[in-house]
């Protein structure tokens, strides 16, 4: 888990060598390095170090039950890893690491251009299909997909032929390294990090693999990605990729089942099992889109179906804006499909595009909604973003640091384009209903600008595995709330003095993961002008996390919080209270008692209330004293009229007393 000196050690057993790159085993954004099993020297291992900013499925793997024909990590965990050099000093960060045994055999194809072996039906079934089914059956139980089934990620068990093992799959984002031809229509068009991650996608990729190995060549070779997808749309995946190749009836039955473009009709592992046992299935016939009576020219080509023109619009975005504006599309839909009412849904789409989202992007949203309307099997498309509905989170995680794409993604969410895509689906599955619910819950959060909301909140709500992307703790790859406070504590010594342990990402990460409402805390963070309320908001939010995941060994965070709270203490009116509070804050912060700190300084708490009431009374008292002093200074007691009146009275009293004394003396004398 930790390194000792320059060594990177995983689980006290595997040493990973940052200086020994094994680029041949790289998996997308995950880089491969040499590794050594300290308890069994001599084993040939390699380690995949995943990106610390993107979600990593590998960190949450269950225990493997037995041997399955796939490279499965020998060990998984977080390691302290040299991430960069700053000012001549090595900066270390935490990274997900997976240690694998190096495959004994060769890779089936080193590059996409390498020739593929040609296998007959029996060989395919024995060497490819059987291990694939074994693997997918296990993966079904784990509820994780492989998403890297392709010749360049398949190894021979030994030598350069025979049994195979599938390569590693948990390092990169699901499907990110797959060539477009191995992806379904919707995933092929999606950005690499916007592809879905389901076992149905694995089944499809397995179908393409079997087809390629049966033919001994790559299907649709030499075609651009757009052409590949267009061919799949226009002809159906099987017909497009088989390219006139002859298949035995059983093989055709298998491939048609695996390559069905409709997920509901695509075969499952159970179907393949039955097929291998010799059961006959009705062939899955391709569902081709309705063809227009006349083609429409757009994007340098002619298109005959709605999904085809939708694909072209997604690939030629700028042209699509003028195209939609020109009215050609309405005319084509009416005449080409003989549908007089075709304009109605388009008018509705324009209305929806106008209703939701920022004013400036109406045309873009109209194009996006047109694509959704005509190509419901395509991913959600908006400008440069093309994303599968199930991968909104992973896509956002990959673009959150890229200004323009991040803005486009935010516009996509604010324009309710994902909801629009769902509305165009012919059938709402339970999974889609769940996505719909999540998007509706996200809707009010995305439009609020304060910390804990907006696009950052969307990231952590949509992608539960995303690490916190705060600049403060980015190197610590915090994916779970329990690691947040220790990571902040560790990061604080390296930051500028006065840096607060909070930013938009940390606030959003907490709000999304804490599982309870933190509206009050987030509202306090929204108004930075009121520094007292802001700093108390920071404290309360961290205290909420601390309450859920207590940790009393956070000395640097405590110290920073104590320093952060000085202006809050100074906002108390009674000077003696400030001294008492400083002592208490230091005491609580030293013991990482953040909840006690929050209670002590709470705006509604007894300490604050007593101080506030006392101050108001003191102010009123001061004013009363000042008025009395002013009265005295203005001759309240020494006014001539007053003096005159009192002196007359005094003179009368004095005289009367003196006379009384004389009278008494006279009376005594007379009696005597």
């Amino acid at each position: 888990m930790a390194d000792s000196g320059d060594k990177v050690i995983l689980q006290d057993r595997f040493e990973i060598k940052p200086s020994a790159r094994l680029a041949a085993f790289d998996q997308g954004t995950a880089q491969a390095f040499a590794a050594e099993d300290l308890s069994h020297p001599g084993r040939k291992l390699f380690a995949l170090i995943a990106s610390g900013t993107l979600p990593c499925v590998g960190l949450h793997l269950p225990e493997r039950r037995g041997q399955i024909p796939v490279l499965w990590p020998e060990a998984v965990g977080m390691v302290d890893w040299p991430v960069r050099v700053e000012g001549g000093a090595q900066v270390w960060g935490r990274r997900p690491a997976m240690v694998y045994l190096q495959p004994a055999g060769e890779r089936m194809a080193k590059t996409e251009d390498d020739p593929l072996p040609r296998l007959n039906e029996q060989m395919l079934t024995r060497t490819i299909l059987k291990p694939a089914v074994e693997m997918l059956r296990e993966f079904t139980l784990f509820a994780v997909p492989h998403r890297a089934i392709r010749p360049t990620n398949i190894y021979y068990a030994a030598g350069s032929s025979g049994d195979i093992v599938f390569g590693p799959c948990f390092g990169p984002m699901p499907g990110a390294d797959q060539p477009v031809v191995y992806e379904t229509v919707e995933n092929g068009l999606a950005n690499r990090h916007g592809r879905s991650a389901s076992l149905a996608d694995d089944i499809y990729a397995l179908g393409v693999l079997l087809l390629a190995l049966y033919m001994g060549r790559r299907p649709l070779r030499g075609m651009s990605d757009e052409q590949v997808i267009a061919a799949k749309i226009n002809l159906g995946s099987f017909s497009a990729m088989s390219q006139g190749e002859k298949f035995s009836p059983t093989m055709a039955e298998l491939l048609r089942g695996l390559l069905s473009d409709k997920v509901a009709e695509r075969w499952t592992v159970r179907n393949i099992d039955m097929w291998m046992l010799g059961q006959y299935f009705n062939p899955v016939l391709p569902t081709l889109p309705q063809r227009a009576t006349r083609p429409i020219r757009f994007g340098g080509g002619e298109h005959l179906s709605k999904p085809a023109i939708a694909l072209a619009m997604a690939c030629h975005w700028d042209e699509a804006i003028d195209f939609v504006d020109s009215g050609q599309l309405e005319a084509w839909l009416q005449r080409g499909f003989n549908d007089e009412k075709a304009a109605e849904p388009l008018a509705q789409i324009r209305g929806l595009a106008f209703s939701y989202g920022p004013g400036g992007g109406v045309k873009h949203r109209t194009v996006s909604r047109m694509i959704e309307f005509m190509g419901s099997s395509l991913p959600i498309c908006y400008k440069g973003i093309r994303v599968h509905i199930n991968s909104l989170g992973t896509m956002l995680a990959s673009v959150i640091d890229q200004g323009p794409l991040r803005s486009e993604f935010a516009e996509l969410l604010r324009g309710r384009l994902a909801q629009g895509w769902l509305e165009q689906q012919p059938k709402m599955t339970p999974e889609l209903t769940q996505v719909r619910r999540m998007l509706d819950a996200l809707d009010p959060l995305i439009d609020r600008p304060g910390p804990g909301y907006s696009i950052e909140r969307a990231l952590y709500e949509l992608e539960p595995l995303s690490p916190c992307r705060s600049d403060l703790i980015a190197d610590y790859c915090v994916t779970h709330l329990r690691d947040l406070l220790p990571a902040i504590d560790a990061a604080l010594p390296g930051v500028d003095a006065g840096t607060l342990p909070m930013d938009r990402h940390i606030a959003a990460f907490i709000a999304a993961r804490i599982g309870r409402g933190v509206e009050r805390e987030l509202n306090a963070l929204a108004n930075m002008a009121d520094q007292t309320a802001y700093r108390l908001g920071v404290l309360r939010l961290l205290a909420v996390v601390h309450g859920v995941h207590p940790n009393h060994d956070l000395p640097r965070l405590g110290e920073t919080i104590a320093a952060m709270l000085m202006p809050v203490i100074d906002s108390f009116h009674r000077l003696k209270s400030r001294d008492e509070l400083r002592a208490k804050v230091k005491q609580f912060a030293g013991k990482s008692q953040f909840q006690e700190l929050a209670d002590l300084l709470d705006e509604e708490g007894p300490t604050r209330q007593i101080d506030q009431r006392g101050f108001i009374e003191a102010q009123q008292h001061y004013v009363a004293l000042e008025k009395e002093a002013q009265w005295l200074e203005n001759g309240g007691l020494t006014h001539p009229e007053l003096i005159k009146a009192s002196s007359r009275m005094s003179a009368a009293v004095t005289s009367a007393l003196m006379a009384s004394a004389v009278l008494a003396g006279f009376a005594v004398m007379m009696v005597a």
């Binding site: 008025k627 006014h639 005094s650 009368a652 004095t654 004398m669």
Partner: protein, 180 residues
């Protein structure tokens, strides 16, 4: 005097809410109080009248000795007639010499003439009246000095309390004051 007292109360009443009500009440009650006061004087005269008649020689002598008081009563127009009381009290005290003379001669009409011829008795009566006038003239200066001292002490006490409040709550405690 009553007017001045009401004015003073009204000025002081600015410090508290209860004070102006007090002042208003004082103003409203002035007329009935004057009537009551007039009634009291009549009662005293009625009670003293039989005594004066019984002691008629003494009354005659004292009446003449109290002439300075009558002058003071004529010039004293201020409410409360404090000057009359001041002069009258000491004038009466000085007039006791005459009383002694009359009573020493058996309190008869025959003793009136000799008593009135006693120069020392006249001196005592007039000196008493003069002392009353002197007190009346000197007292404003003394009262003024006493009031100034009281005012200074009270102001110092107020400023000290204000300083304590500032020390306890800081400068913002002054912020409740209206702008100058």
């Amino acid at each position: 005097m009553a007017q001045a007292a009401t004015k003073g109360a009204a000025t002081k009443g600015a410090t508290t809410k209860a004070a102006p009500a007090k002042g208003a009440a004082g103003k409203g009650a002035a007329a009935p109080r004057a009537a009551k006061k007039g009634g009291g004087s009549l009662l005293i005269i009625l009670l003293l009248l039989p005594v004066a008649l019984i002691l008629l020689p003494t009354t005659m002598v004292v009446f003449l000795a109290m002439i300075p008081t009558m002058v003071a009563r004529i010039v004293d127009t201020a409410p409360g007639r404090h000057l009359t009381i001041t002069v009258g009290s000491l004038n009466f005290a000085g007039s006791l010499w005459f009383v002694h003379d009359v009573w020493a001669d058996g309190q008869s009409f025959a003793a009136v003439q000799p008593a009135l011829s006693d120069m020392m008795a006249w001196l005592a009566a007039l000196l008493g009246a003069a002392a009353g006038w002197t007190i009346h003239w000197v007292m404003p200066a003394i009262s003024g000095r006493i009031a100034a001292t009281k005012s200074t002490v009270r102001l110092a006490r107020l400023r000290k309390r204000q300083a304590e409040l500032v020390e306890q709550w800081g400068e913002p405690v002054r912020s409740g004051l209206p702008p100058p």
